[in-house]
């Protein structure tokens, strides 16, 4: 098993799971991040810490294109710059009060963030329209999930009966399980060295979301049992 690169694009949520005006906390390699959409639906991925008292911003709330901390209401604009301190409403907050943003992009029906300082390119492109299946948290090392997907048989009955599944890994954190008229795209989010989340979408006209969801539950059962051994 090759280790995942520490500096790369990783999925952090299914695009459909982050509604406009909401924030959600998650992790990449144990680093706490907040994924949120402003009211214009633009996604943002930041460090999940209010510079004021270290409160998790994911517990806060979105106001327009600002994210506000639950603790004292400090508000940050789309670039992470502090714009309002309610206790001192007349004051213009200094530039130094800023939440570090991660490079982020919406692609393949997922939200992606780059874990490095310098980001380049992006996750692979997909020409076919995609639709979301689900995200599923798995208690196993992300590398174990990646390698196990390479030889886990595709969902029975979802291949038009052919039994032919191809598996490809076009990026370090993306596995494509394809058959006939559709492919299951699975982005792997490393929460830590021991836990990951698989974000699954269907590309192409075929594929049964419910069947694929149950298939992912079977995969979780298999790979977790191996991780315990």
């Amino acid at each position: 098993m090759t280790a995942l690169p520490p500096s790369a694009w990783y999925p952090v949520a299914l695009a459909a799971d982050i509604d406009p005006g909401t924030a959600n906390g998650t992790r990449l390699f144990d680093r706490e991040i907040v994924v949120w959409r402003d009211s214009a639906s633009v996604p943002h991925v930041w460090e999940d810490r209010c510079p004021h008292r270290g409160m998790r911003l994911s517990l806060g709330f979105v106001r327009g294109d600002h994210l506000a901390c639950l603790y004292h209401g400090w508000q940050y604009d789309a670039d992470g710059q502090c714009r309002l301190i309610p206790a001192h409403p007349q004051m213009s907050p200094p530039d130094t009060i800023r939440v570090p943003p991660l490079a982020s992009v919406e692609r393949l029906g997922m939200l992606w963030a780059h874990t490095g300082v310098e980001s380049s390119g992006g996750p692979p492109l997909e020409e076919r329209p995609v639709r979301p299946v689900r995200s599923i948290a798995v208690d196993c090392p992300p590398e174990a999930a990646l390698s196990r997907l390479g030889y886990f048989s595709g969902p029975t009955g979802d291949d038009g009966g052919s039994g032919d599944w191809t598996v490809a890994a076009p990026a370090p954190s993306l596995v494509v399980v394809g058959s006939g008229d559709h492919a299951i795209l699975i982005g792997i989010q490393p929460l830590s060295t021991r836990q990951c989340v698989l974000h699954a979408v269907i590309a192409g006209p075929g594929g049964d979301g419910l069947r694929i969801s149950h298939w992912l539950e079977e995969f979780r059962l298999a790979v977790e049992a191996e991780a315990v051994q």
Binding site: T22, N24, G25, A137
Partner: protein
């Protein structure tokens, strides 16, 4: 009509009843009870020595699921909150009522230990709570993929009422919501139920 709830503001079981009373817009009196062992008087009302306890005139009931189910049956003339006349919906609702009382007990115990006891909850009880939330997550994922929005049927029921507190309060025991996107959506929807109210540990803002 006189409904009295013996209530502890921080208790997740009492919160189930407060949510049900609010959803049914029922007038009631709340008698605050402190954290810790019940007084002998209250123990006479519930020999198990636990909250919540509800008095509806001369009738005494205990247990969040039993009380919520009773209130839905007695005070919802349209039988929407507990669709007991339809055997299928009844059976499905019963699954989640017993789940709320049994499987989610681990989440309740973990939270109580994290809040009130010196020793942190054991890894075993946390794992049991996460397993229960995973069952709920897989169910609501399947519901979403087939057009469902609530645990049972087409509208919120007593099943949603008794499951909400443990999930919404899981952060008190250190269980974050990031592994449960389908439950996050459901919890946000739950907050739009007319009469919805929060409790300590559940933010007013969202």
């Amino acid at each position: 009509m006189s409904i009295v709830l013996y209530d502890n503001e921080l208790d997740d079981g009492c919160y189930k009843v407060r949510l049900m009373l609010a959803a049914l817009h029922l007038e009631h009196t709340r008698v605050p009870v402190g954290t810790g062992p019940l007084t002998p008087q209250l123990r006479r009302l519930n020999p198990r020595g636990t909250l919540p306890i509800l008095a509806d005139n001369d009738l005494i009931l205990h247990g969040g699921e039993a009380i919520a189910a009773f209130l839905a049956r007695r005070y919802d003339p349209l039988d929407r909150w507990f669709p007991a006349d339809d055997p299928v919906l009844f059976g499905q609702t019963m699954i989640w009522l017993s789940f709320g009382a049994e499987a989610l007990r681990s989440a309740s115990v973990a939270r109580r230990q994290a809040m009130f006891e010196v020793e942190a909850p054991s890894a075993r009880i946390i794992a049991a709570a996460r397993t229960s939330f995973r069952v709920m997550e897989d169910h609501m994922t399947a519901r979403r993929l087939t057009g469902g929005r609530w645990f049972v049927g087409e509208r919120p029921t007593v099943a949603d009422i008794v499951l909400f507190p443990a999930f919404a309060l899981s952060g008190d025991a250190g269980i974050e919501h990031d592994a449960y996107p389908a439950l996050r959506h459901w919890a946000r929807r739950f907050r739009t139920i007319p009469g919805f109210r929060t409790m300590p540990g559940i933010p007013d803002y969202y």
